[in-house]
Amino acid sequence: MSVAKPLPHDAAPLHVTGQARYVDDIPLPVGALHLAFGLSTIARGRILSMDLEPVRSAPGVVCVMTSEDLPFANDVSPSAHDEPLLSDGSVHYVGQPLFLVAATSHMAARKAVRLAVVDYAEETPILTIEEALAADSRFEEGPRVYGRGDVPAALARAPRTVSGRFEIGGQEHFYLESQAAIALPQEGGDVIVGSSTQHPTEIQHKVAEALGVPMHSVRVETRRMGGGFGGKESQGNALAVACALVARATGRAASMRYDRDDDMVITGKRHDFRIDYAAGFDDDGRLLAVDVTHYTRCGWGMDLSLPVADRAMLHADNAYWIPEIRITSHRLKTNMQSATAFRGFGGPQGMIGMERIMDHVAHDLGLDPVELRRLNYYPSAQAVSEDASGGRISAKMKALTPYGQVVEDFDLHEMTEALLASSDYAGRKAAVAAWNAANPVIKKGIAFAPVKFGISFTLTHLNQAGALVHVYQDGSIHLNHGGTEMGQGLFQKVAQVAASRFGVGMEAVKITATDTAKVPNTSATAASSGSDLNGMAVKAACDTIRERMAAYLAQVYQADVTDVHFADGHVTVGTERMSFAEAAGKAYAGRISLSATGFYKTPKVDWDRIKGDGRPFFYFAYGASVTEVAIDTLTGENRILRADILHDAGASLNPALDIGQIEGAYVQGAGWLTTEELVWDDKGRLRTHAPSTYKIPACSDRPDVFNVALWDGENREDTIYRSKAVGEPPFMLGMSAYLALSDAVAACGAGYPALNAPATAEEIWRAIGGMGDEL
């Protein structure tokens, strides 16, 4: 049995010796060309003229293309066909690709693009939320609204209310491997594309459209990415399409990778949000009504902004039952990079908005923020399953989300209890208070944050997956599925599933690159769904082969098929015992098909995004964290001193990989809310386009004490070995770092801190300045 073991990443030996190949490491045939885009330098306007002669005559340049040279579709959008690969004459942001250069080296291509002389008719860009609202520049006809009850009336009736505004910055993915693609021309106009993408099928689709060929003429392969985090769900389309076009036009292999600053300037990032809120509650802290309005800057193209903004709305409740709630969402179109998927996909923004409200209410009432949260939690899974009353305020009713799904698996009551104990929350909170009373300059803060994250693609049809499994006559197994490997260990987990179905060791299973020629019509590896979907599809394929083998062997040995067992590298048939390899050889000789496809679609999900009603999620994943920080009140400098995490991965398929995901996600989430600041100037130019100006957490920022544990539970839904998805949910554990900083700032005065995210040193210093006199 190979599931639920802490096995290392399948490619670990390749990684530590430098042999693991990423797209840009693949050896290219002689004569391969290297590509670069020429980028716009204004945020909005029209191109009056573009002199590309100096580019064409630059050393090493082989070909230059503009939108007029594109024979078929000029589009790389994953959604609304609104993102031309190369500008059609209109300019929508600083960094938009205008033309394409292919040269004999990467450096020659990059140098040549800078020689273009472009003349623009510049228009005033729409950059801020105010500007977008004033111009009614938005996606969809107006704001989307989900909720229930008469919220203005309920707020008016409430004994107490708080209201406020909270700004949340975006985030650069900063996958360490920047975007990359290669294209190799084939006979008959076909093309093979290698892409660092989370979505090979989309690449195949967009390349086919651009070349004017059916999808069967394009084969896309992805072995691994050097990180993705959502940033390679749609943002790799442009590179792959550009390579394919050049390969088609020149008959030569084409390769493209963005340098880091190009990557940051061209590609989309996490959506930033402004959240306006009002909450009504009683004197005990029970929430009665919440009104939240999300404003998000989506950038120039639609990309995935609608489902991102939807998911933010679907997480605006986080873990709390709110009797009457209204969630309004404005998806604003601005002259910036087209914001895109990023781990959590809007969920983190919706959730931190609610946590900010909880914090504000607790501060208003002088209650312990954890107690307030527990008071408002959804009812426990047990209470919901035992509830037969059907009364007006029954557990079932209190388990109803604003969008009509019943929360049937709520584990946070028990998890909170366990984490508070293991992290000694009460003792440390008292110690923090004592420290703050004694120390005027360095203040400490401590905070708890719960996470409830919905698992499934909200676009229901994406919740499907396929797999292809071959058993060779020597007993070795070839495994392929639609998921992509970006470091999350998906291949390892899925291979463990295959090994356990056949009762063989991991060495018998070969994990192969994701390949659109092996498994078609795949969904992006996103929404944390990788192992849920692909694990089940692989299981189905393995079981088909296993059943065929068992039926044949039972017949040969005159045994009952139920007496055939696959375990420990062997197959037993009644009293006969043979190695798995022997069994495979026998089945082959008996003319049994040892190849099968598998398919899976998530059950139960059903969602109407316009009405905001239904069951968007198969289940929820839970987590909780406690973070302690210290700030220097004179400079705003700060440190995370300790983080304690308890996270629910169901019955974990691989605890080592899951704990790694949780640690990395927490640090990335904390980075989003603390040091990672994106700055655009008033011309719409991104000023933070390199690691020198954009600060992701470094090794020295790691919390001094970092305790991570898995909650010992099983998924109540029938997922692969009862595990839970773990890619995105722990990202939001980083919220407690922000909340702890806010707690530390609160120790500097009597008011509620006006602390926006990211809580950089400057922002903390500014918020302290707004706190007024010392307590």
């Binding site: 530590v16 360490l176 491997e177 470091g487 790694g660 992701i696």
Partner: protein, 160 residues
């Protein structure tokens, strides 16, 4: 642009290549010598993915010119395992699951090896600050630090 003939030693083997005088050592390693273990994460000396040693000193190969390697000893990730035997750091990285996407891993291993060569008994804080120039977006660093501490103990002949 005329090219310059460079003779250097990479992981103990003498190699020669022709380099444009403005070409980085990283590009020379990757494009001329086919040694793609060293990665480019930023090209500006901020991420450490391109870490190599030059006459024993840890450098960002994206900030060194290929021609500067002339007559020097270059050490890359490809030379960390000797004779097919993994270095204790490499073993501990696998054992501790200290990598996810693996893109930062070669640079971190080269940097960690350089640390242990000059300081066989580092404190955890020393490891964390030494590796502060090596960015990793996936792991959150915890397992990396543990793996380095464990490998250091191993190299000192202590059971961790």
């Amino acid at each position: 642009m005329s090219k310059i003939h460079v003779t250097t030693t990479v992981n103990g083997d003498e190699v020669e290549f022709l380099a444009d005088p403005r070409e980085t050592l990283l590009d020379c390693l990757r494009d001329k010598l086919g040694m793609t273990g060293s990665k480019e994460g930023c090209g500006t000396g901020d991420c450490g993915a391109c870490s190599v040693t030059l006459d024993g000193t840890l450098v960002c190969s994206c900030l060194v010119l290929g021609v500067e390697a002339d007559g020097k000893q270059v050490g890359t990730i490809e030379g960390v395992a000797e004779g097919g035997v993994l270095h204790p750091l490499q073993k501990k990285f696998i054992e501790h699951a200290a990598l996810q996407c693996g893109f930062c891993t070669p640079g971190i291993l080269v940097a960690a090896k350089a640390l242990l060569e000059q300081n066989p008994n580092p404190t955890e804080t020393e490891v964390r600050y030494w590796l502060a120039g090596n960015l990793c977006r996936c792991t959150g660093y915890d397992k990396i630090v543990r793996a380095v501490m464990d490998a250091a103990a191993d190299l000192r002949g202590e059971a961790a």
